[in-house]
Symmetry: C2
Subunit: 341 residues, 2 copies
């Protein structure tokens, strides 16, 4: 049986790709490497910048945006510019994150900066950032009233500031001791959850709902994003590698300061001492997980994830979504909250 989310995505995704291609100069089949570099990152071109069918990522945020629009009583096609803008913005942030984190690969391919150097990759990211705004401004061409377009653009940039503030905090954590759980939650709110929140909010705004109802959609996205991220943190330590496809305890090996780790560090002198050692011995991962388990870090994180999940579900109920998007939104929520990979 095909689920509602699959049926709707089958309509959404080709329209979304077309909208993004129009904005990123891919419709014309341009041979200009200025756009070619963007197409490579988007998964539309290979390393020789020739057309390719690469891994483009899951497009969860734009699908959420289109579903929110339909669920709030709007025409999802009218929200395509917002969905495209959010996905291009997300991809811009990945281009710069990969440079900032010195990451050589993304979605199984070399990152843009490893192929073209940091200067061109920084600049390509900047161009994508500007193009994400132009994508959003196309709302004006789909009969969205100008005051709504201005409001959407402001919410978009307010979210961008939160994204960069989250990334600022995340980079700071790497070199900082004594990061508190509250700091961490503020960081993932900015870096991850705000963009999911914006996706739901903009969809609702395009549907023409008032500020109060748009806020309910925004809160739904925020809690969904937080629940998703905390689950990701749990999987990064205790995930089943046969399912996640990553080796278990990746986040321990890289000493990433995720929610369970920060909780554990605040409760266990032994874990603090272990993390203070610059050299990680062979038993590092096993000892770290043992000490973490002693603090109840997994139960704590699972409790937090459940709390955000519950809040997201309450928000979605309060939003009174319309069918058929409602069923698809519940399925998407279920998929994101009950995932094991």
């Amino acid at each position: 049986m095909t689920s509602k989310i699959e049926t709707l995505s089958a309509a959404f995704l080709p329209a979304l790709e077309e909208e993004m291609r129009a904005v990123l100069g891919a419709s014309a089949g341009s041979a200009d490497p200025f756009y070619g570099m963007m197409h490579y990152h988007m998964g539309w071109a290979d390393e020789q910048l020739q057309p390719a069918d690469g891994n483009s990522g899951k497009r969860i945020r734009p699908v959420l945006c289109l579903l929110a629009c339909a669920a709030a009583g709007g025409d999802w096609q009218q929200a395509l510019p917002a969905a495209a803008a959010i996905e291009i913005l997300h991809n811009f942030s990945l281009v710069h994150d990969d440079i900032e984190d010195n990451s050589p690969t993304r979605r199984g391919r070399p990152t843009l900066w490893t192929l073209y150097g940091q200067p061109q990759a920084i600049n390509t990211g900047d161009a994508m950032f500007a193009l994400a705004h132009l994508a959003l401004a196309r709302l004006a061409d789909r009969s969205v009233p100008p005051p709504v377009v201005v409001h959407a653009l402001r919410r978009f940039d307010e979210t961008c500031v939160e994204l960069t503030r989250g990334q600022y905090a995340d980079m700071g954590f790497e070199t900082r001791d004594g990061v508190a759980v509250a700091d961490y939650l503020a960081m993932i709110t900015g870096k991850t959850a705000m963009l999911v929140s914006l996706a739901a909010e903009l969809g609702a705004l395009v549907a023409g709902v008032d500020a109060t109802r748009a806020r309910v959609f925004a809160d739904f996205g925020l809690n969904l994003g937080l629940a998703f991220q905390v689950q990701d943190d749990i999987l990064g330590i205790w995930g089943d590698e046969r399912i996640t496809g990553k080796s278990a305890a990746t986040d321990i090996i890289t000493r990433k300061k995720t929610l369970p780790v920060l909780f554990g560090l605040s409760r266990s002198q032994g874990l603090r001492e272990l993390y203070d050692k610059s050299e990680a011995g062979e038993d590092f991962v096993r000892t770290a997980v043992f000490l973490l388990d002693q603090t109840g870090a997994q139960e704590y994180a699972a409790g937090e994830a459940a709390r955000y999940s519950k809040a997201a579900i309450d928000n979605l109920e309060a939003a009174e979504p319309l069918e058929p998007a409602a069923t698809a939104l519940w399925q998407l929520t279920d998929m994101l909250l009950r995932r094991d990979s």
Copy 2:
């Protein structure tokens, strides 16, 4: 005697700084280094991120924006959000350019990336880019009609794309042989002239002029920007170092491919051979300038600068600017076109 431009700037500049400070979180005197890094780059804070009165640059673009608004019959205070947005955008682009060009100093101080590392500097630039948009959206708070705000935001991002395309071309020129004069003019149009053009255009748009008259202001800015840049190219080779404060022939020493150099390379086999040598001998500068002079490169570039200057002056006449801004615009134009430093 105080000139009209000085009188008007005395009113404009404090209002502009206040507008920018409000957007960049400096009004509240925030101790948050996330904003502190921006304040350092803007010249408002020292290396310890304490308040300081640093060199903030000349603010030519925002002054032009405010003058264009007044000259087109508008209230310059209504254009403050546009002027602030353009100056913040300009400063964002400098933060990233300094990383891309590996420049250690700017305005006599260490660049942001040399103090905080490339990752934080890239991210701070991104935050300023988002904040530049929020600055522009404040037009909506000054009774500018929403359709005009949407149009201004689109023109802003179209210009950002041209800026990044210009930077893309500029970085490519460094490693490329046979750069044509036409490629160079397209590059400086995107990298330099478009932002000057946008400043004049947005000022006129806020004044409420129609698209045709806004285009005349935009063309004025474009030609002014091109004339300025070509003059800069001439000064970079033949400038009087007692006046420019830089050693003469800087652009020869760094082998920068500016307009006179590209003209000379296209005309002189000897110059091409000289530039092909990886080692520059002691006589390199003297020989290069000698060969350049033989091709008539200085006269060619001066002719191009005169052509753009004439076009800018014609545009400004056609714009029929209103007093007292008109006199100030003529003075600014004169100052930019007749400069010798």
